[in-house]
Symmetry: C2
Subunit: 211 residues, 2 copies
DNA sequence: AGGGAAAGGGGTGAAAACCCCTTTTACAGG
DNA sequence: CCTGTAAAAGGGGTTTTCACCCCTTTCCCT
């Protein structure tokens, strides 16, 4: 019996291309392609459309890979999700794995490695390259220093990433300038930074603010 | 006679996949794949390896698409370069076109569109989607406000994107704090910004500084 | 030779940012 | 009801930044 694969990727050219690759592997066939997570979930409502393996892109519009994977894992625990991405961002990779992806393939993978991944994930239930394995270990060593930011602080940070003065930020947030200064000071403490530039850099690196 | 195509992309899986697509088109065949511009130029030293069309990724290590395209265009003016990228950054698209690319394909292109592009570039010498055409017009309308920054100013901007005070920046650049303030003030003027945050945002958006 | 950028340096006052510490307010839990 | 805690607001003093002025030196170009 052949293993049924579904490819979810908004880069349609890539999706079609991978489809041809997968179809060329013995014992594998592509059921259909999807452009995003939403489309995939719609399809999978019909039992005939539930595959064995989903090759899932991470960066997609509408319903991204992480969210989609999470839902898949809860709804169809027997479906194996393999992440497929150019993204090398640690947070994103870990996000996918936490969401229940059984492996993470870079898009510069060789043809043979894709086949290997598909076969291993069927056999063992997971597939991890050395790169990803190393990352996993790293994330255990450094447990992601859980600096907990409150809603109001996040809002403030976003404002701080503009040319507004603190007085203007205070007005925009309907607070006293002094309160804003309070937010700022406690953030400086928590995040171990010295001035507003540090705050902006933190925000950008944590993707709280997109420049 | 078949049209010979070469695919240059460090995402090897994608490259292989596109290869299979291209080979499935009537009248086209893939000569070989390359992982970057350097590899391509090495190959093309042998006349038998000079293709009719190059499908060129933009983001590559070692020798990127823009640089490679420029060299190809000077050395082999008869070779048609089609850019192939996920990149939607206006500067990069324009860079590729200025470097001599005959078209710019998004990686979410449909199979049929790729075939169309290959055929049209052979027939007419170019291929542009509506999206790209619109971009081209836009770039003519807004002639890229040529704010000319001097070396010393660029150096200062990079320092300004850190938690250093101006005094510290002055020390790092072996200048008087006053000179630094001079740079700052004239940049505020030139760039039409009000404070250091604006400068940081400008630097990031212009890719002078990568966070 | 002279005019004009470009680069480096300087002064001052006002505003903003920074830092520490207190008070008020509000509200949940014993 | 009282208490503890956390958000909000504030006071006051120091440093930094900002936004104006000003000057000299160097170097390039016609």
């Amino acid at each position: 019996m052949t293993t049924k694969v579904v490819i979810v990727d908004d880069h349609f050219l890539l999706a079609q291309a991978i489809q041809e690759l997968v179809n060329s592997f013995e014992g594998f066939e592509t059921l259909y392609l999807c452009k995003n997570g939403k489309e995939l979930l719609e399809k999978m409502k019909y039992p005939a459309n539930v595959p064995d393996i989903i090759l899932m892109d991470v960066n997609m519009p509408i319903l991204n890979g992480i969210a989609a994977t999470k839902i898949i894992n809860e709804t169809y625990p027997n479906v194996l999700v393999l992440a497929l991405s150019v993204e090398v961002d640690e947070d994103i990779i870990l996000g996918m794995l936490r969401a229940g992806a059984k492996g993470y393939l870079m898009k510069d993978t060789e043809k043979e490695q894709l086949q290997e991944a598909l076969e291993q994930v069927i056999r063992d239930g997971y597939y991890h390259t050395n790169t990803i394995a190393k990352l996993l270990v790293g994330s255990l060593v450094k447990p992601k220093e859980g600096v907990q930011l409150k809603d109001r602080e996040l809002e403030f940070i976003k404002h701080a990433c503009t040319e507004m003065t603190y007085r203007e930020i205070a007005e925009a947030m309907f607070l006293s300038p002094k309160t804003i200064e309070g937010y700022r000071d406690s953030l400086y403490e928590k995040l171990n930074i010295k001035n507003r530039i540090g705050l902006v850099l933190y925000a950008i690196r944590q993707k709280l603010f997109v420049p």
